[in-house]
Amino acid sequence: METTKLEMLKEKALNIRLGALEGIHAAASGHPGGSLAIADILAYLYFAEMNVNPADPKNADRDRLVLSKGHTAPALYAALAEKGYFDKELLGTLRKFGSILQGHPDMKHIPGVDMSTGSLGQGFSAACGTALAGKIDGKDYRVYAILGDGESEEGQIWEAAMFGAHYKLDNLVAIVDFNGLQIDGKVTEVMNPTPLDEKFAAFGWNVCVIDGHNFDEIEAALANAREVKGKPTAIIAKCVKGKGVSYMENQVSWHGSAPKDDQYEQAVAELKANA
């Protein structure tokens, strides 16, 4: 990857992480762990992959992103604000009464949100439906769904996986944030959904396993997804929950709790220092 592109992506990812934490801190609630985990993937999707235009958020030919793991909305909102869908000032209103930035993505009120999600398992099915609509209409837009590894314990994920392969939705990419943790502990101890790669392959998907924080690997997997015809692609992205903030990394306690003032300051300082 060219240095300029890499630097641009790093900057976008940093801003997504900062924006997500700003909202969560201001709200004193939200899900920082998973938000930080998917920041690099969102940065690549919105700034190097997807054909979207913030000035025309409902364009029928646009690529779509469905955040099936809707609780990591703070990262999505930060990415949308960074892209220009709405003012970054709004990020501080996350989860507050009267704000459009609901606790989970709300397609009716938030520019750039392609599907309302939050109840785990459901967004993936919707992504399949939108990908099918593209096939029906002969459009060449692509649909990206971001799933959680814990979310993959939902039966509906596998109903949708069956559907995506059955209808040969090669315009659909599922990216699984495989960070290994869910609310009650390690995914392998709570209810082991692994091996996710073998499961998706067995369901008829093209599968890539990557480091979800390595932009070269994200780029290569998404390029591979475009090349593979006749089947959808699942990218199992090994991510670090809480990525970039030392005390949050791989700590399940940061799944759904907000940093206090001093913790927030430390997080911002660390993210900026390491950028």
Partner: protein, 313 residues
């Protein structure tokens, strides 16, 4: 009266018939196309029909995604697995974003017959009524079923269309014009109002005839649209007659009876007696046997009409 026809049959026929006039709707089913009658549409428009297999939750999610991309979508299964199994998908993926998805639920109520309790859904209206923005239509006959399908196509938003397995006679008068959200007065009366929906409408008309022979004047109102409910026609009739009987093939909790009680309590409090499934599960049997067992009969409407009249102050 014309030959009896099941509303599910009319649903399938209407989808197929309207497929040419409205070119942008698609139909999903969950391995029940032969029973829900979406198979009739599939035969004519195979490229607009998508079987989702036995996975109702995913089907509703797929419907939401199709609708998010601009499609009008019918998603069909038995009422039990559409409203029941996929309730939360309907609530969160269709209702909350207010997407243009039409749940075509067949085999509602106990008239499913021999399959028994696991397949007899007497709770779907109650479930669907609690979803903000959901329109619920429970047609009384084939004419109304076809009209409801077209109304669902031409009206944006989530719909729950409730169809039955059993053949029912036509009750709609000649020249009938279906109006979404409007109750239909099928008989004028002064002593008691019978508010009925679905297959109970023709029994309500029979009950009115029986009552008439006994010197009791019953007004009959067909409520095809259970939500939004035509409170005006019900309240006006209740004000005139002073007593109401509801009749539905559904649990008396949360369905038409519940809706009418809620409406009248706030507009025109009069005694209301509810005829319906009295908070029981279903069972196997032939349709007439089941209707009799659960009190979904002309005789029971008559008896309860008298009960309602006796409750008048």
């Amino acid at each position: 009266m014309a030959d009896k026809i099941a509303t599910r049959e009319a649903y399938g026929n209407a989808l197929a018939a309207l497929g040419e006039k409205y070119t942008d709707f698609v139909v999903l089913d969950a391995d029940l196309a032969a029973a829900t009658k979406t198979g009739t549409f599939k035969k004519k428009f195979p490229e607009r029909f998508f079987d989702c297999g036995i996975a109702e939750g995913n089907m509703v999610g797929v419907a939401a995604g199709l609708a998010a991309a601009g499609k009008t979508v019918f998603a069909s299964s038995f009422a039990m697995f559409a409203a029941g199994r996929a309730f939360e998908q309907i609530r969160n993926s269709v209702g909350y974003p207010h997407l243009n998805v039409k749940i075509g639920a067949t085999h509602a109520g106990i008239s499913v017959g021999e399959d028994g309790a696991t397949h007899q859904c007497n709770e779907d209206i109650a479930l669907m009524r609690t979803i903000p923005g959901m329109t619920i239509v429970n047609p009384a006959d084939a004419i109304e079923a076809a009209a409801a399908v077209e109304a669902a196509i031409t009206t944006y938003g989530p719909f729950y269309l409730r169809f039955g397995r059993a053949a029912v006679p036509n009750v709609c008068p000649e020249g009938y014009k279906f109006e979404l959200g409007k109750g239909v007065k099928l008989a004028e009366g002064t002593d008691v109002t019978i508010v009925a929906t679905g297959l109970m409408v023709h029994l309500a008309l029979e009950a009115a005839e029986v009552l008439k022979a006994e010197g009791i004047s019953a007004e009959v109102i067909n409520i095809h649209t259970i939500k939004p409910l035509d409170k005006d026609i019900i309240a006006a009739s209740a004000a005139k007659t002073g007593a109401v009987v509801t009749a539905e093939e559904h649990n008396i909790i949360g369905g038409l009876g519940g809706a009418v009680c809620e409406a009248l309590a706030e507009t025109c409090p009069v005694p209301v007696v509810r005829v319906g499934v009295e908070d029981r599960f279903g069972m196997s049997g032939k349709v007439p046997e089941l209707l009799n067992e659960y009190g979904l009969t002309t005789e029971n409407i008559v008896a309860n009409a008298k009960k309602a009249i006796a409750l008048k102050k």
